[in-house]
Symmetry: C2
Subunit: 257 residues, 2 copies
Amino acid sequence: MEEQESLDQFLDRAGRDFLAHISLDCVVFGFHAGQLKILLLKMKHEDLLALPGGFVMKDETMEQAAIRVLRERTGVENVFLQQYHVFSDVLRSDPARRPLIVERLGIPPEKAQFLAQRFISVGFYALVEFSRVVPRPDLLSETCDWYSLEDCGPLILDHGRILETALTELRTQLNYQPVGYNLLPRKFTLPELQKLYEAILGRSLDRRNFQRKIFSYGIVRALDEKRTGVAHKAPNLYSWDLRKYQQALKAGLGGGW
Amino acid sequence: MEEQESLDQFLDRAGRDFLAHISLDCVVFGFHAGQLKILLLKMKHEDLLALPGGFVMKDETMEQAAIRVLRERTGVENVFLQQYHVFSDVLRSDPARRPLIVERLGIPPEKAQFLAQRFISVGFYALVEFSRVVPRPDLLSETCDWYSLEDCGPLILDHGRILETALTELRTQLNYQPVGYNLLPRKFTLPELQKLYEAILGRSLDRRNFQRKIFSYGIVRALDEKRTGVAHKAPNLYSWDLRKYQQALKAGLGGGW
């Protein structure tokens, strides 16, 4: 298990086990209490937060590497994961930044070679059900936790751009990928579903139009159950009709929301 | 100019100038005589065709590298170019294949190191106006030319998959990117526009529905000109209303065709 490995051991094997110049960053989206959340690391000796990421082993595909990184940070497997953009700015940030991070981590120059090189990073976004995740920091970080978009502040290096691009991609993919299916628990209320769409799109939607559209596709079905333990009138629970959902996505849900 | 460089000179500097392990492949789409065309290379000593591709210089972004490769193969700059997927299968083909290609090219093993390594390839697709392109082979190929999808046969390594994925992406992007604007000449007839959509989608469309949809978006405008030199009744010429086209694409052209 990589978790038991020391940073020293990791640096010793990094150049041997991983491909040079190629990294990946994961934007892990979750949905909780009506808010879109992302999983971020608080790196040691750094004030800014960072996206979870990693490197590609010599016998791994990009996807296998991303699945491994996600499993290590979240404890979860079988996650919706999609590569969406390659970030390859030559500096990918202030040129002094990466060596500075390495230095602050107390890594001696002769061990810093692997981490200090130029990386071209493949961006992945993941959609996970919030409650399944047990966040775990990596070797370079103190904490790993969920943040709302408003609370995370500027991110390290070019991670802010990587996050922004993922969000744009998620908005585009809302009509083509089973976003709701992956972010919501199996049973949900219509207001919860609408809140999810609103959180992703960053604007409020008309309740009637939203429900008309959702019902017109036949992609959710009412369960014979109500949400219990809520103050107001207990709202009905719904579940996805996955077959119809997939069919509808194939053609694209179409139009704007 | 790289064109005047010998393969020998290229191999001498490749490991010094390019990043290890990262390549790019370009699916260059053109439209001619009612057919979707792609630009392919006939490699020396190989029967199968290959996509144009290249490597990333140490001071280049992926996009700059792709623009350079495209300029070298087509003579064209300012081209619509979009990265769409990273291909990272560990073998990316029969494991014996890449060394065999290197061997057939007559490259001695001590010079083959750069070409024989594992490459993770970033797929780009380009949309170019057919008539602007002057195809030019690279150092490893004899010819560079346009092929229709039906005529190209199986491609080398995993290039068939890279092409298929680009085609799928192009179909999805038809409602979100100015595909028609980039593939057609500035002035076109409605049958030409419909043929382009049909070529991309791989199926025929109803003429009336197609025209109704195109007109409903207001993205083309009739010119006071007709196509001359055609046998039948001279059809009217149209041009894009780029502002409306961009607006319509922003929301997505929506629905199916």
